[in-house]
């Protein structure tokens, strides 16, 4: 099915299932421990052996030798494969560093060997016996130094009007520099795979991947084999956040191990290995300049940012939102990539906007204060309904102003503290902050197969559910389209034997894959109509209705199967700008003696098209608010500048938010409809929930203390010397 123009009124506007709060259909499996994750598939193939990875102990250089003799003769060991024994593997489009093979080391803990043994304990012990010698290169992994080299150079990605003239004539200007640190996904389930490539022919991979087809294509590229020889399964994924978009070393090493010993091999990346072996969100340094007239209308926005990457990579483009979010006649945007040999910088939840809004939304707060304006009103004054860098292009839907007004109203913004440092309750300084949220939206082609037999519907697609609720919203979509109760619909996900979907990432999964399931169900309806000789029959209450007859679907003999994809037309990006919007409101307390910041309450208002299921959508948003709290207050990958790696590579020293850090949270969905997005008129919400959260907390901390911190995370040491006398 082609989606080549905005949707008209359709069945989703009369929905009885889509858009309603249904409990997660896979919830019972998850609370009873019955949902099978990758490393747990004891049932899928007999004789599984255990693989254990070995990583490079240098950031850059060459391996001059690996002595694996002790490991090979260790108890239970069935095989050892070192990177020196393997030709460099191919590198797929979106991977940057090579996953295995050859003597070159590009980053710390790049995989250099796999040990296969009969037990996990034996494999782990033998892996520690490898003797590796290196020819180590010196590395420069100092982003601050890189920023000083690149700032003021290069061609802007967006250049509108005359920025310098606008600054000269502005009534009020701001010019500040902001720092965001590197972040790691830290999903709870480590990267894990079981691979059976015993015979060197067909490869079967049970893994934990957000993107089944990309995983399969990447495996084919790595090993130089036809993708048709590879089958990938990933029905349950223990979190991804972008860290499982790309093929990683677990599947590659398990495949090599399996090929080497002629048996299936399972491997999970050990937690302390994950942070340097896999990908992360790059740190950023951002200079933001704003110019406004005396009425608070922005006249110029100048955003220059830098992030780090391995040579040839993408880094973290913190300017992603800046061409689009606020009105201003003059604009200059540039993002510099600073190449260095830290581990691979890549995508993490809302790549670009997360870091960008951490800075831009503090800058907006600072500017509002300079103008003497309410920061909510300042943002409203600079709203735009068109792409401000290309005013002929309208936003498909944009309700940012409503997000701000509704949030202010529900939060009690008018009762906020208006004097920074001016409200104290005992030992706590109380402050309130707001920040805007922006996240671009796109759709990817998405397919599915729908099969009806004895009145039961089965949906098969390689779409994944990474905790986002795909099983549930796809069940709802199919039930709505076929007029069946949800209990008669079974959704099967995460298998490369089934039609290729959008997969899960970039907050495109929900809107793309529900549209794909809709397309497959419409194709199925047409098949059933043809069989019964009906023109445009209606599907309702378990029946197909046409020509004055009501036929229960359960009474149609035989099996009907139809497959289709939703293809999204060019008009979406040519004629419109699609994005999602939100506003975050936060109250914090900052301890007057220690500088400890505690979040006391949080509110988010989201504008993301039709909300397909308010329960799972709300969970996504509160989850984003939790991740944003970590980003504001504690999350930071610490760089060892001498050796070029992240020193705090575990869950004790990389501090994500825990129960005690999270207060009452409130989420409001405007439940707008976006005709341009899909027939269901929905957009993504999972990444939007993270955008702007950290800045709202930082602004609240400023409001509480009068201390402006422009470097995340807002740890005690960044405030304590400026706090008032106890």
């Amino acid at each position: 099915m082609d989606f080549n123009q905005p949707a008209d009124q359709n069945l989703f506007d009369r929905a009885t299932v889509v858009g309603k709060p249904h409990a997660r259909v896979d919830g019972v499996l998850k609370v009873t421990g019955k949902a099978p994750y990758a490393y747990e598939r004891h049932d899928v193939v007999a004789g599984q052996l255990y693989g254990y990875p070995v990583g490079a102990a240098i950031a850059k250089g060459r391996i001059t030798g690996i002595d694996a003799s002790a490991a090979r003769s260790a108890p239970g060991v069935r095989g050892v494969v070192t990177t020196l024994e393997i030709e460099p593997l191919g590198i797929w489009d979106y991977n940057v560093a090579r996953l295995f093979g050859g003597d070159v080391v590009e980053h710390y803990q790049q995989a250099i060997a796999v040990v296969v043994a009969e037990s996990f304990e034996q494999a782990r012990a033998a892996a520690a016996l490898l003797e590796v010698s290196y020819d180590r290169d010196k590395v420069d992994v100092d982003l601050e130094a890189g920023w000083e080299r690149v700032r003021g150079t290069g061609e802007p990605s967006t250049l509108v009007g005359d920025v310098d003239a606008a600054f000269q004539s502005a009534a009020v200007t701001l010019d500040e520099i902001y720092h965001t640190p590197s972040h790691t996904h830290a999903m709870m389930e480590p990267h894990a795979s079981i691979v059976d490539w015993s015979d060197g022919d067909q490869m079967t991979v049970w893994t934990s991947s957000q993107m089944i087809e990309w995983n399969r294509q990447a495996l084919a590229t790595n090993f130089g084999i036809d993708p048709d020889r590879i089958r990938v399964e990933s029905p349950f994924i223990g979190g991804g956040f972008g860290g499982k978009l790309w093929l990683r070393a677990d599947a590659v090493l398990a495949a090599i191990g399996s090929r080497a010993v002629g048996a299936p091999v399972k491997m999970a990346l050990p937690r302390p290995f994950m942070i340097n072996n896999t990908t992360h969100r790059s740190a950023t340094i951002q200079r933001i300049r704003l110019a406004a007239d005396a009425d608070g209308k922005l006249t110029a926005i100048d955003h220059e940012a830098a992030s780090h990457t391995l040579p040839g990579g993408r880094g973290e483009n913190a300017t992603a939102q800046t061409p689009f979010f606020y009105a201003a006649a003059n604009r200059r945007v540039i993002h510099h990539l600073v190449e260095m040999h830290l581990p691979e910088a890549s995508d993490m939840r809302a790549p670009g906007e997360t870091s960008g809004l951490m800075a831009l939304e503090i800058a907006m707060d600072e500017m509002a204060e300079k103008l003497g304006m309410d920061p909510v009103e300042f943002r409203i004054r600079n709203d735009t309904q068109v792409n401000p860098s290309d005013p002929a292009i309208p936003f498909s839907e944009r309700h940012y102003v409503e997000c701000l007004r509704e949030g202010a109203n529900r939060f009690g913004w008018s009762d906020r503290n208006t004097t920074p440092g001016g409200r104290r309750e005992g030992m706590w300084l109380i402050g309130h902050g707001v920040a805007g949220a922006y996240r671009g939206h796109l759709n990817l082609k998405s397919g599915a197969r729908a099969t009806l037999s004895n009145g039961r519907l089965v949906i098969e697609t390689d779409m994944t559910d990474i905790g986002t609720g795909s099983y549930t919203i796809l069940t709802q979509t199919a039930a709505e389209t076929m007029g069946l109760p949800m209990g008669r619909v079974e959704v099967r996900l995460g298998n490369s034997a089934w039609p290729v979907s959008s997969g899960s990432g970039g907050q495109f999964g929900a809107s793309s894959s529900t549209a794909g399931v809709y397309a497959a169900c419409v194709a199925l309806r047409e098949k059933i109509g043809e069989r019964l000789g009906l023109q445009n029959p209606e599907f309702r209450d378990g029946n197909v209705i046409g020509n004055g007859e009501v036929t229960p679907l359960s009474e149609i003999a035989g099996e009907f199967s139809a497959e289709d994809s939703m293809n999204f037309g060019e008009f979406q990006s040519k004629d419109y700008l699609m994005a999602t919007f939100g506003a975050h409101f936060v109250e914090v307390g900052v301890h007057v003696a220690t500088g400890e910041t505690r979040v006391r309450r949080m509110l988010a208002v989201c504008d993301a098209g039709r909300i397909l299921n308010p329960i799972t959508a709300r969970s996504q948003v509160i989850g984003g608010m939790v991740m944003g709290t970590g980003g504001a207050l504690s999350e930071e990958l610490a760089v060892d500048l001498e050796h070029g790696f992240f020193a705090n590579h575990d869950l004790a020293s990389y501090e994500v938010a825990v129960h005690a850090d999270i207060p009452h949270q409130e989420v409001i969905f405007l439940d707008t409809l976006d005709n341009v997005a899909t027939p269901l008129k929905s957009k993504g919400v999972g990444e939007l929930g993270l955008c702007g959260v950290a800045a709202a907390i930082a602004n609240a901390a400023y409001n509480a203390t009068g201390i402006r911190v422009r470097q995340y995370p807002l740890t005690l040491d960044r405030m304590i010397d400026q706090l008032p006398e106890v």
């Binding site: 896979d26 998850k30 421990g33 709870m188 991740m627």
Partner: protein, 211 residues
Amino acid sequence: MSPPIRFEMRRRTFLVGSASAIVAANIPWRANAQPTSLVGPDNSTVTLVVNGEARGLAIDNRTTLLDALREHLHLTGTKKGCDHGQCGACTVSVNGERINSCLSLAVMHEGDEVTTIEGLGTPQQLDPMQQAFVDHDGFQCGYCTPGQICSAKAVLQEIRDNVPSHVTRDLTATIEASDEEIRERMSGNICRCGAYANILEAIHQASGAQV
């Protein structure tokens, strides 16, 4: 958060443990009935009472209780998130107290009663805490969920037993299952999907249902 220290309970557990060790040493079958290859400097036999059922294992001494459950008994509901006591995904109950099963070797648990998520309820008959997690969407990806549920059950028991926590202000008063107490006691169980607010609601529901 480490499980709270329960002096009375610990002493009793210790005495029971010592007594059973002496009894076991006098039973001749234990030493002789196993194939010699499975018992030696690297391997041992151990009997765990898992979800009410005695399960004999001959295993590597280095095998954690977590891997004994997941890899040997195929009880994969208990999760491995970090394998060194930092995330809480492997939380199970041993003799009525919650522990991180990744920080404990299986051979240390001769005769111990281990309750895992599989021992709480089934898809057909959920434990009230499991039902509460479904009702309040107390998870997303589901990977930390069994650990959260096992911890949550233990938290309510610890509060009923009046075991104080870091946030307990009055050590002589009856401890209430307040938001603050629950959040503090659950903080050893990380949920990266960020379902904390929903988990709190679920625990309150289960608390009201007298789990």
